[in-house]
């Protein structure tokens, strides 16, 4: 990629304090983080470490109490609610643990959704949604409803939806949390694939195995970053899939759907 070293995310001294009245909870307590384009970062940490809050702030779903957050050059810590909606729409692609597809709405229409809010004309919307679905290998299932798709397929629809607006970052919150190991590998393979094509991806996870697929691991504890390291022995999802015994996939296959 060009701009190999450009900073997509620059966070300085970020604080998020939840004031419950009696006590103040410092969910984020002075976080400094810089993420460059074409990174594949895993944000890790135990429950209550602040990684979910970090994810909400990164995704512009929530505003920090203090500190600065530059996303793609603009300081989102100071934006209005409508501007944040526009940032979420154009610069961030979300992938959730529970997929969050609209029920009774075809895969194609689900992928079109962010473009509907971006006011893309209908014809272009459909063409781009088709291309995105094909890129995650669901070209044959565009008109399926979410309840007619397996968990892994639903998550792939969600990834297509995240991709389709061509965002600056893709933010995935426990994307494999509800999937069996084979579907998980397939999803991680798609992420690695996208990353290889230049996408910046941030995965929030508590599974070391998932983190091992990423290029860089950032570990949170008590609202601070306690470790930030490059992954030395990176797993290649495609290779893992190749070596995965079929029997195991069949054993776990049933867990993955719900």
């Amino acid at each position: 990629m060009e701009n190999e070293q450009s900073e997509i995310i620059k966070i300085t001294n970020l604080m998020k304090i939840y004031d419950t009245g009696k006590i103040k909870v410092h969910a984020l307590n002075g976080v400094d983080l810089t993420i460059s384009s074409n990174e594949l970062v895993a944000i890790m940490g135990p429950s209550g470490s602040g990684k979910t809050t970090m994810m909400n702030v990164l995704g512009c779903l929530d505003l920090p109490t203090k500190g600065e957050y530059f996303l793609d050059g603009s300081n989102v810590a100071k934006l209005s609610e409508n501007d944040l909606a526009a940032i979420r729409n154009k610069k961030i692609g979300f992938v959730f643990q529970t997929f969050n597809l609209l029920a009774r709405t075809s895969a194609l229409k689900n992928v079109e959704l962010p473009m509907v809010y971006a006011k893309v004309p209908a014809a272009e919307r459909e063409a781009r949604a088709r291309a995105a679905l094909e890129s995650v290998g669901l070209g044959a299932r565009m008109y399926h409803m979410p309840n007619e798709l397996s968990g892994g397929q639903q998550q792939r629809v969600a990834i297509a939806r995240a991709l389709v607006t061509n965002p600056s970052i893709i933010l995935a919150d426990e994307p494999t949390g509800n999937l069996d190991s084979r579907s998980s590998e397939e999803i991680l393979m798609i992420f690695q694939d996208l990353n290889a094509k230049g996408k910046t991806i941030i995965i929030v996870t508590h599974e070391p195995d998932v983190a091992q697929h990423c290029k860089r691991n950032v570990v949170f504890k008590d609202g601070r970053i306690i470790a930030d390291k490059q992954v030395s022995e990176r797993l290649n999802a495609a290779k893992v899939l190749e070596n995965m015994p079929v029997a195991q996939w069949m054993e776990n296959g049933n867990n993955g759907n719900k």
Binding site: A86, R88, F94, L102, A122
Partner: protein, 405 residues
């Protein structure tokens, strides 16, 4: 989000809970149907009255006994005995140049007997000019003449309802009958006019006014005088001329003490229109209450829907929906619900009004206005009762909504 997309999405989410949507809509359907049907009843009554007043004749003035104050609460009109046949005779083109024809009128209920049947009906005393002035034609036989009036002849012209009651399947002209035991000869039958407002003009018997006063009821007063004016433009002139003449005859100096009232046909029309409008308003108002109840049902279901779809709202916001996007989505949904209900309700209301006119034998008229009104009203109900739930949805916190279970 463009409007077509919004409507498409709202149909999808409404059809997800078909039974619930239909039941919710039912409230609006019933409300709108009631509004359309009730207004059509009121409008029907209005149309009927307008038709009957216009059917009375053209360029008519009515001189009535007793004073009628401005407004509705006049007492004594028609029941005073201050208007005499001499007053009627005094109103001529010579004394009041704007007047062309004059016909006196007095009426009373009486029992009428043919050879083997009897009935109660309205006896009207008038003169030979009544058919011209009141636009009433004789279908069979003839009307009585000026001479008949002068010599107090006992001849009668009867309405078609009286024919049906006294002479079913018989030729009435030339037959004998008695009015209060006084024998009369039937010389003519009036053309059928049909139910006219609240009175049936076919259920009456016309006899010479002199016969009415002297031979049958022993009276000397009139209820009113029907005056036909030369032309439409002379209505006010004729009114002044008649008022001046009668004041002179009755020795009245102050118009406030008038013992008669001159009323134009258009005044009567306006007055009756006021009454029927009030009637329509009352019926429509009652129907609107059911529409209101339907609207509250809509709000209730929309609130349930917002709660149920909290995660969806969170997701939409995460994907870039603004507050306004979410607000319009839920507003459109409640409007779609109401307007669909409104359209069904309008169809039901039209059906109901036809059923009422068919079964109840009551004229109804469905006006475009009432359809537009109820359509607009159901749109308004959707908007008004949709705002609160939609606003609630748009204000949901994104993070909490996404984690809502």
């Amino acid at each position: 989000m463009e409007i077509s997309e919004l409507i498409r999405v709202s149909f999808i989410s409404l059809s997800a809970n078909k039974m619930r949507s239909i039941l919710t809509m039912l409230g609006v359907v019933i409300g709108v149907a009631a509004v359309v049907a009730m207004i059509s009843i009121g409008e029907g009554a209005k149309g009927l009255i307008t038709k009957s007043i216009e059917g009375m004749g053209t360029n008519l003035l009515f001189v009535m006994a007793g004073q009628q104050k401005v407004g509705m609460g006049g007492h004594g009109m028609g029941s005073s005995q201050t208007l005499l046949l001499e007053d009627c005779d005094a109103i001529t083109p010579a004394t009041c140049p704007a007047v062309s024809l004059v016909a006196p009128e007095i009426s009373k209920g009486a029992s009428v007997k043919s050879s083997n049947k009897n009935t109660m009906t309205q006896i009207v005393g008038t003169n030979h000019l009544y058919p011209v002035v009141r636009n009433t034609n004789v279908a069979k036989g003839s009307f009585f003449t000026h001479v008949d009036v002068l010599i107090q002849r006992k001849v009668a012209v009867i309405g078609s309802t009286v024919v049906d009651n006294l002479f079913p399947n018989l030729e009435p002209v030339g037959k004998e009958m008695t009015i209060n035991r006084i024998p009369f000869t039937i010389i003519g039958v009036l053309e059928t006019k049909g139910q006219s407002g609240f009175t049936n003009v076919d259920d009456q018997i016309l006899i010479p006014v002199t016969t009415f006063q002297k031979r049958v009821f022993g009276l000397n007063y009139l209820r009113n005088i029907n005056v036909q004016v030369r032309s439409q433009d002379d209505m006010d002139l004729a009114q002044t001329q008649i008022e001046n003449l009668l004041r002179k005859r009755h020795r009245i100096t102050d118009p406030d003490n008038d013992d008669f009232t001159v009323r134009k046909q258009t005044d009567m029309l306006n007055r009756m229109n006021d009454i029927t409008s009030a009637f329509t308003l009352l019926l429509g108002g009652i129907a609107c209450i059911s529409l209101l109840v339907g609207g509250i049902g809509i709000m209730n279901i929309m609130l349930v829907s917002v709660t149920e779809r909290t995660r969806e709202i969170g997701l939409r916001k995460a994907l870039g929906a603004t507050k306004f996007d979410v607000l319009t989505q839920f507003l459109i949904e409640s409007i779609v619900l109401c307007v669909t209900g409104g359209i069904v309700g309008i169809l039901c209301g039209i059906g109901m009004s036809y059923a009422i006119s068919y079964i109840g034998n009551w004229n109804t008229s469905v006006s475009t206005n009432s359809i537009l009104l109820s359509f607009g009203f159901s749109f308004g109900v959707g908007l008004f009762f949709g705002i609160y739930p939609a606003n609630k949805a748009s204000n949901l916190n994104c993070v909490e909504a996404l984690r809502y279970e």
